[in-house]
Symmetry: C2
Subunit: 364 residues, 2 copies
């Protein structure tokens, strides 16, 4: 199904809700970018999304987004033009012009960054992204996984200071990028993966911007956690994900989080409301692994999403706190993340855990 839409002031808030829902905790809280987008749309009009099918084969597309520990993003305010600096720097380095932008990851604020940048630059935004969620590292983007070079990669700060990184592999680019983000106060903005329209069609997770709008609408309209699960199901399946699963409901009773090497790293524990069970979730910016009674019940690359069980609002990892009553939703990853090539970069071992990928409990 081909979907083509505009993002305007009427559906922007749903989009922000949806990107946070599908973020798996990372990508940053959308709030600040959402405010900047409201102002930019009021001034310049809506953002035109392009369906991947409508891209010219040889169109030039750049992937982009913020890089850093999400915790930093709640204290270090952006000026809103970081994306412009990053894309311009990459254009200058390559001596080419970009035709459209695509989100490196749809999850969280990073799902909105290309829209704000696109408005400022007069560029459309592809209705797709490179992760279908958020992940903590460049080499986990489908583009990198399926052979698009992440570099040259431009990383900039809010003053326009920048670094153009060139490496032979995405993992090395990520290592340098992460250190550059530390030099820039713990967060920077990157443009990378210069690719063609054909590449986007082959390797992007498709229609995740419009999906997020629909997910946000469902979040907003749902009356309870069960209703949310039920209503998101058809949207996710239609978009190529598996059907969502209720992994756990309970209260956050322990939370450990620190900034390590440019990431928010830690874990938190949820007790079921009847206190009969506990779930531990391991975090590296994103929710990576869910464990109950010493047993993994969900792991990357499948999605682990957290919502407030009362308001149904999605909770990004830096907003976790003791006492929150949450619902944990598992969503099987799209097909592009279930291949051996993709698993090599996104299964638990790729994150340093001595744990095998576990098919999500409760799925068919």
């Amino acid at each position: 199904m081909k979907r083509s839409m505009k993002i305007d002031r009427d559906n922007l808030d749903d989009l922000a809700l949806g990107t946070a829902f599908i973020s798996t905790g990372g990508g940053g809280d959308p709030y600040l970018c959402q405010l900047a987008l409201h102002a930019a749309i009021a001034e310049k009009g809506p953002v035109q999304l392009i369906d991947p099918d409508d891209l010219d084969d040889d169109a030039t597309i750049m992937s982009m987004g913020g890089v850093g520990a999400p915790m930093i993003g709640s204290e270090k305010l952006p000026n809103g033009f970081e994306g412009v600096y990053a894309v311009r720097k990459l254009e200058e380095y390559l001596g080419i012009k970009c035709d459209a932008l695509i989100a490196a990851e749809i999850g969280g604020g990073n799902g909105l960054v290309p829209l704000l940048t696109g408005l400022h630059m007069g560029l459309p935004v592809v209705d797709a992204d490179g992760m279908g969620r958020a992940y903590p590292a460049t080499q986990m983007e489908t583009f990198s996984i399926y052979g698009i070079s992440a570099t040259p990669m431009a990383a900039v700060d809010e003053f326009g200071n920048g670094a153009v990184i060139t490496t032979d592999d995405s993992t090395t680019a990520e290592r340098i990028l992460r250190q550059v983000s530390l030099a820039m106060g713990g967060q920077c903005t990157a443009a990378d993966h210069t690719m063609t329209g054909r590449d986007v069609r082959n390797y992007a997770i498709r229609n995740t911007v419009s999906l997020s709008v629909e997910l946000g609408r469902v979040v907003r309209r749902s009356k309870d956690f069960a209703g949310l699960l039920e209503a998101t199901g058809p949207l996710l399946v239609d978009a190529g994900y598996g059907a969502p699963v209720n992994l756990f409901e309970g209260k956050v009773i322990d939370l450990h989080r620190e900034m390590v090497g440019g990431y928010d790293v830690g874990e938190f524990v949820i007790a079921s409301f009847d206190d009969s069970q506990q779930m531990t979730i391991k975090v590296q910016n994103e929710y990576l692994i869910a464990i109950v009674n010493g047993q993994c019940i969900a792991t990357v690359p499948d999605l682990i999403c957290v919502v407030d069980r009362e308001t149904l609002l999605p909770i990004t990892s830096e907003r976790l706190r003791y006492g929150l009553r949450i619902g944990v939703i598992g969503i099987p990853a799209p097909a592009l993340y279930k291949t051996p090539e993709a698993m090599a970069f996104t299964d638990p071992r790729a994150f340093g855990f001595d744990i095998d990928y576990t098919e999500m409990a409760g799925t068919d």
Copy 2:
């Protein structure tokens, strides 16, 4: 006085001794680069030095050298072509060709890096440098101090992975560069400060390559510590430094050193041979401040140099160890480092010490 010389296999070892002598502890042990240069000179012939006065006004010169904690350099072996990768990357970024190379710092191995790179690239090396010693940071180069932009700056590793850094000021460039060095295993090689022949004449510390050869010869020929001090005096004064001073003689009785933020940081204590006095020297890659009885007797930007009191061989900071019997030599900095502009970047406060610059005791 204009000096023009070649560096060949006969004077290379003296050069290495001299760069270590004048290093103030940093710039890395010259040994590995010295071996690589012996091999390169045997194959390609001597390195031609150019006197700054012989540079065309509009010649394009790039400053270069290794970046990182010296301790890393004794474990992470270079392949010898890092400088070539760095200069080529900067040339490509700027779309220009470099006419000659100049050492960012003459101190230690970094005094030899441009020679090795120049041989590989067929480029001459200017008989001068940007520090007249070694300092731990880019913004401390005379070129930066006197208004030459440090960026674009290319930083590379031994695989050719790289980052081209662009910033408005050298201090920010240094902060990013230092993080990039960490991503590259604690050490990288940089090319920066693209400038003209005229700039070199105005802002470089002149003839420090040939000075180092002469200092090395004196180190090799001197019979004792007093003789070394006496023999280096006229050379240093002739080159624009102050007359060297005997700051302390004694035995290393305590040494604290750790890698912090990409630097070797610490301090060491020397007891006089009669045990009547102790000197503490503060280190950040380089020897920065010398304190006796709570009193600063020498500080940056003046040079604090350390030699083995028995062999007279210079001791770079990563080679310090308990029990070494050393002589500490103070050398007043050249005039370019005694201006208010230069002091703002190189006095003790620029290194975070709550200490004012102290005119060196024992000098006129």
